[in-house]
């Protein structure tokens, strides 16, 4: 197991480095520098400024410095647009919010999706099954940026039950719509995957044996069917997690929740490359870390995988 984790890390770290270098090169290729303004600075002043921030160093030196700053101090450098804020401060302000509703949404999608999918498979061809299949087909075409306006239309404009935007850590009313808007399509996918793999497991030999020896239905499902049926779900969690992080950008924009997605889009519109890179790298690191966790989980659950 330890060797397996080490081997996966040996791939994960170069991937992350590659991402950092790639986005750095992109930023470097962008026209204009942080001190390019309408009123040109005197060349001497510009040269001094560039020397102070290390902008006159050769390219390889800049990359090494940047990577070293991240590795050693977790420092993404200063923002190019807001002089008094560093990238770290901007990310630290938004990240807890994103993490809160993202995590809740993820849990909701997994719990509801697996329950719905498993229930649909157990009661195949009943109204419950049709409902689950109907919901999961419908939710395919309702991604977060479609769900969000529909939810606001119904719950804020028509019913007036929930606030249409904003964020408060104290008041869960603000959490409901972001969590639902972000999670619905993943919930549907998880339900569909669980249903089809559960159906396959339920018709397999070991379940027939369990039934033949008279085990109660509850026990068959909980102990013998659910675990193998969850394998495809687990391998779906990796990509789902990544696109949920991406989806949080829409949530932040639409509900004004103030998470890192907002900083990302703002920096994209302001050409604040430092913040964009910081967020991209943070998301990349989270992605790689999460797929590592999923792989380990998978290897742990699936007895067929030998490391």
């Amino acid at each position: 197991m330890f060797g397996f984790i080490l081997r996966r890390l040996a791939v994960a770290i170069p991937t992350l480095l590659l991402l950092i270098i790639f986005s750095f090169l992109l930023m470097h290729a962008a026209p204009g520098g942080p001190f390019t303004q309408e009123r040109a600075l005197p060349p001497q002043v510009l040269a001094n400024l560039e020397a102070k921030y290390g902008l006159d160093d050769p390219l390889w030196r800049k990359i090494v410095d940047y990577v070293w700053g991240i590795v050693r101090h977790f420092d993404f450098g200063p923002s190019f647009v807001y002089p008094d804020r560093t990238v770290n401060q901007i990310i630290a302000a938004g990240f807890p919010i994103t993490l809160t509703y993202g995590l809740l949404s993820f849990i909701l999608a997994v719990v509801v999706g697996v329950t719905l999918g498993a229930a649909a498979a157990i009661r195949q061809n009943t109204w419950l099954d049709y409902l689950a299949v109907g919901v999961s087909i419908g939710a395919q075409v309702l991604p977060n940026f479609v769900m969000a306006p529909i939810l606001v239309l119904v719950f804020t404009l028509i019913l007036g039950w929930l606030p249409g935007g904003g964020w408060s850590f104290q008041n869960p009313d603000y959490w409901i719509m972001p969590v639902i808007a972000l999670g619905t399509s993943y919930m549907a996918s998880i339900a569909r995957i669980t249903r089809s793999s559960m159906l396959e497991v339920l018709s397999s030999n070991h379940i027939r044996t369990a039934k033949a020896k008279g085990l109660p239905a509850r026990k068959i499902i909980m102990r013998h069917a659910l675990k193998p049926a969850l394998l495809p779900v687990i391998s779906y969690l990796g990509p789902a997690f990544v696109s949920m992080i991406t989806g949080s950008v829409v949530i932040d924009m639409y509900f004004s929740t103030g998470g890192i997605g907002k900083s990302f889009v703002d920096s994209a519109l302001n050409r604040d490359y430092a913040v964009m890179m910081g967020v991209t790298i943070l998301v990349g690191a989270l992605t790689i870390l999460f797929s590592l966790v999923v792989d380990i989980l998978y290897a742990w659950i699936d007895p067929k995988i030998r490391y």
Binding site: F22, F145, P149, V152, L157, S243, T246, V250, M277
Partner: protein, 309 residues
């Protein structure tokens, strides 16, 4: 946004490769099954309607997508509602631009993005996957490792980074979407190539001295078409979703051009002022088209997958 069940497609790939051709051509069989599938036929019909709308809708439009109706401008909520009388069949937006013409424009761009993305996936992904799978060994390991690494990058962020740094333009959008769309396709194609490459006809080709690239183009690729067709159909809506996502954030196509994502974004921003038609029409087209593509993809898969015969 993985709405495609990869294990299903891979399983189908394996079954299709294992299938021996007997008597009737498998394509004729598949066509027959596809035409019998009611959901897929309805979806195909709806999709043709949407395409016809994008292609010929302008003949009925009295306004162009970027002209402003000054009698409506600024008071869209009261005077911009859909009406036959003033030629705004779908109403107008806040600037007084005709939503009918703008929806046609948006439909064109969204469909184009979907088709370009899927085409890149078909060409690059098929060749890459077939080459990797057929050559095998160290080359295969390196090529597939590269795909793994590229897949673990949060592409949406990188795509936005690309768009911002090199300027927002349609060609950049196509390039960025094309860069990512072929990755999954190459994996699926490689999987099927692996099962194909030990079959007798490939062995025969190799024994008679056909060069490697010719075997790949002439003998491997034609046998991959079923899987590729199914996956490409399911890829088109994913590409449309990607573009809509970016345009929803205001980082995609630029005004006065528009796309479904941009129209939905605008509509969802202004619906608080009572202009619900701004959201309803683009959203309707978006949802209907996506549904159509998914049903056609499912129908194709059922038709080409010999398992349920």
């Amino acid at each position: 946004m993985t709405m495609i069940e990869h294990n299903k497609i891979e399983g189908m790939a394996a079954r299709m490769a294992a299938e021996e051709v007997k008597g009737r051509s498998p394509w004729a069989d598949a066509r027959k099954r596809f035409f019998k599938n009611k959901a897929a036929m309805v979806a195909l019909f709806v999709l043709l309607l949407v395409i016809a709308f994008a292609a010929f809708g302008n003949l009925f439009a009295t306004w162009t997508y970027d002209s402003i109706d000054f009698s409506v401008m600024g008071s869209a909520a009261t005077q911009g509602a859909p009406s036959i009388a003033n030629g705004h069949y779908f109403g107008t937006d806040d600037l007084g631009r005709d939503l009918f013409a703008r929806t046609i424009q948006g439909t064109r761009i969204s469909l184009m993005v979907g088709i370009v993305g899927a085409s890149v996936a078909v060409i690059v992904g098929t060749l890459y996957g077939a080459t990797s799978g057929y050559i095998g060994g160290r080359t295969d390991a390196i090529m597939m490792r590269t795909v793994d690494i590229l897949l673990s990058i949060p592409y949406m962020f990188v795509l936005i980074l690309l768009l911002v740094i090199f300027g927002r333009s349609l060609s950049m959008l196509f390039l960025g979407i094309g860069l990512i769309s072929w990755l999954e396709m190459s994996r699926i194609v490689r999987g099927q190539t692996l099962t194909l490459k030990n079959r007798e006809f490939i062995e025969a080709a190799r024994a008679t001295g056909v060069p490697t690239w010719k075997i790949i183009i002439r003998h491997i690729v034609p046998n991959l078409l079923g899987v590729v067709a199914v996956y490409a159909t399911l890829l088109v809506p994913l590409m449309i979703l990607t573009e809509s996502f970016i345009s929803f954030l205001g980082l995609g196509v630029q005004e006065p051009l528009t796309s479904w994502g941009a129209l939905i974004s605008e509509g969802s921003g202004t619906m608080r002022y009572g202009t619900i038609w701004q959201l309803a029409f683009p959203l309707g087209f978006f949802v209907v088209t996506l549904f159509a593509f998914f049903f056609i993809g499912d129908g194709l898969r059922d038709a080409l997958d010999p398992r349920d015969r």
